[in-house]
């Protein structure tokens, strides 16, 4: 069970941050209270009972050690108990305060309300009900002690008669007031939290399903691309090659010029088929892996344009297929962007293996852009694909100083081979 009452399990730092915020909120409120009380005390002749001023001050002060304790906790269970301890200290102070205000006169009930709400909202069931029980117990004890005269009854307010001396009045206070209100409140808060948590869980499940679906879709899409590229290459391409071979075997019967012309047309069709297949999914990637494919990409870029591509990478065992194809698409997309928009002379493509991740970086010496400028669809799609596997795409550029696209994909590298 999560530490947020019935809410979903949260991570420790997040939980700590929320607890610290509530402690800070109390500190500010109580600090203000103390200052105002002090000002009133000094500037008016209202006779304050001094403890009425001191107790909020003590409450204010204990927020400091508890803040320290909360920050030090490393496990959620321990954190919950520290938090519960803070509530216990709080209700002891509140009880004292309530006693000073005229506890048995119902007004005391209102002072515990926030503690009961908070405890049941933030703490697991055990601690939540424990705090609620303690509140009921302490308040009832206070009323009873005043009733039997073990402690003096005080009252800030003008009350007709002395109702606290009446047994039926005090029983009503305890049963209807303390037990009734606090138990109901605790139960209600826990119910709401449970509804909230189950909705959250459902939402988280949906998100997970959606992410899984996208992943499957990507895999299916990649599979489809591979199939189409293979078919283009292996079926259509081979048939064209066969036509060319058959034509060549007929050379003796054809005028040389015509044969050459037809041969050129076939060559063009073959080139077109190959370029198309390659742009869908390079077969090299499946057959030989990322490094040769990147070399080929660099080569093709240099063959087709004046852009110079420098490759920096170490030969490594093959990466998982999904990562290879993702990184290759990233390089393809980034280089294509450089070619189209950057007016660059050189582009540096680096593949590095860092702890826990593979990093591909594509840097150019072109005109650059402002990173906030709208990005092309290709880059957006790439970002989505990379984020889906838990990686990230970082783009940095300043106008006039080239640009860098850095793609990080999580992958456990074997450190022994990483010398």
């Amino acid at each position: 069970m999560g530490s947020f009452g019935e809410m979903e399990v949260r991570r420790l730092p997040e939980l700590k941050a929320i607890i610290l915020r509530t402690i800070l909120a109390r500190r500010i409120t109580l600090g203000l209270f103390a200052v105002i009380a002090l000002i009133v005390k000094l500037t008016s002749n209202i006779s304050y009972l001094n403890p009425l001023f001191y107790s909020p001050l003590v409450w204010f002060l204990i927020t400091f050690p508890f803040q320290y304790l909360v920050q030090r906790q490393k496990r959620e269970r321990a954190l919950n108990w520290v938090h519960a301890g803070f509530f216990v200290a709080e209700i002891i102070i509140i009880s004292f305060f309530v006693h000073l205000m005229g506890g048995s006169e119902w007004i005391g009930i209102s002072f515990y309300l926030f503690t009961v709400i908070y405890a049941n909202f933030f703490l697991p069931r055990l601690q939540g009900y424990l705090i609620t029980g303690l509140v009921i117990g302490l308040y009832s004890l206070l009323v009873l002690l005043e009733y039997i005269g073990a402690i003096p009854h005080r009252s800030l307010f003008v009350i007709v008669g002395e109702p606290y001396r009446s047994l039926s009045y005090n029983l009503t206070t305890i049963l209807a007031g303390a037990v009734g209100i606090y138990a109901t409140l605790a139960y209600t808060v826990r119910s709401f939290t449970r509804i909230y948590a189950s909705k959250n869980r459902a939402l988280a499940n949906r998100e997970l399903q959606l992410a899984n679906l996208s992943k499957q879709l990507l895999v299916a899409q990649e599979e489809e691309r591979r199939r189409i590229a293979r078919q283009l290459h292996d079926k259509l391409g081979q048939s064209l090659a066969a036509i060319k071979l058959h034509l060549a075997s007929l050379r003796a019967y054809l005028p040389e010029e015509e044969e050459g012309e037809i041969s050129q047309i076939i060559d063009r069709a073959i080139t077109e088929t190959r370029t198309l297949a390659y742009s869908i999914r390079p077969p090299l990637l499946d057959d030989l892996g990322l490094a040769p494919s990147l070399r080929r990409l660099a080569e093709m870029t240099e063959t087709a344009s004046l852009l110079q591509v420098s490759l920096h990478m170490r030969e490594k065992p093959r990466l998982p297929e999904a990562i290879e194809s993702l990184l290759f698409s990233a390089a393809q997309e980034a280089i294509e962007n450089v070619r189209k928009h950057a007016h660059a002379k050189h582009v540096n493509v680096t593949l590095r293996y860092e702890t826990g991740k593979v990093v591909l970086s594509v840097e150019d010496d072109g005109i650059g852009f402002r990173p906030r400028d709208p990005q092309g669809l290709g880059l957006q799609g790439l970002r989505e694909r990379v984020e889906l596997v838990g990686g990230q795409v970082l783009i940095s550029s300043t106008p006039g100083n080239g640009s860098q696209v850095r793609v990080e994909v999580p992958h456990e590298t074997d450190s022994r081979s990483d010398s």
């Binding site: 290459h233 048939s239 090659a241 036509i243 071979l245 040769p292 080929r296 080569e299 063959t303």
Partner: protein, 196 residues
């Protein structure tokens, strides 16, 4: 020239038939058999002991690359020439590493295929050819026009040293060892390049 006994393995029927037809038109070449997968290729090598085996890289049962050692065992004197739809230098490199004498694209011209078979039969290995970059092609084309490195540098806006570097790279890629050779290559291909 002594007749060269050639075997062919390719799963694509039309390609296989085309190769048989084309190679049969050369009197020097005798096609001794065909196979349509890796397993059949090994048996064919054992039975016929061909001088050159044209082995398709992508075949069912046993692909061409994986079949190389078996073909070599079945017929130790056979030289293997890999066939592929993919003519990337990377594939050629792998083929050489696996023990083939070279790799040719199925889209190669008839004369080049013939030359490759003859070379391989004579015990040579085919070099791995890398395509020229756009810049290298520019430099080579200007060389064909009879320009000096200085002139080429100033017309392309690059340094003379860089021009020399591009020439060097182009020569390495084309397996040409002298500047004269490069110029004559440039002259031969100049018309072709302009047509493109």
């Amino acid at each position: 020239m002594k007749q060269i006994r050639v075997a062919i393995a390719d799963d694509h029927t039309l390609v296989r038939a085309g190769l048989v037809r084309l190679l049969s038109s050369y009197p020097v070449i005798k096609v001794v058999g065909t196979a349509k997968d890796g397993a059949a290729a090994i048996k064919l090598a054992k039975d016929e002991q061909p001088a050159v085996f044209l082995l398709d890289m992508a075949m069912p049962q046993l692909n061409g690359l994986a079949a190389i050692p078996y073909v070599k065992t079945a017929s130790p004197k056979t030289r293997i020439l890999m066939l592929s739809m993919y003519d990337e230098a990377e594939y050629a490199q792998v083929a050489l590493e696996k023990g083939a004498a070279g790799l040719v694209s199925k889209t190669i011209s008839a004369d080049d295929l013939y030359a490759a078979i003859v070379d391989v039969a004579q015990g040579k290995c085919l070099s791995v050819k890398k395509p020229l970059t756009a810049r290298e092609r520019e430099v080579v084309a200007l060389l064909a026009d009879g320009k000096t490195n200085d002139q080429i540098g100033s017309s392309l806006g690059i340094s003379t040293k860089t021009v020399g570097h591009h020439c060097q790279r182009a020569m390495e890629k084309l397996d040409i060892h002298t500047r004269v050779g490069l110029i004559s290559y440039a002259g031969r291909t100049a018309g072709l390049n302009r047509n493109n």
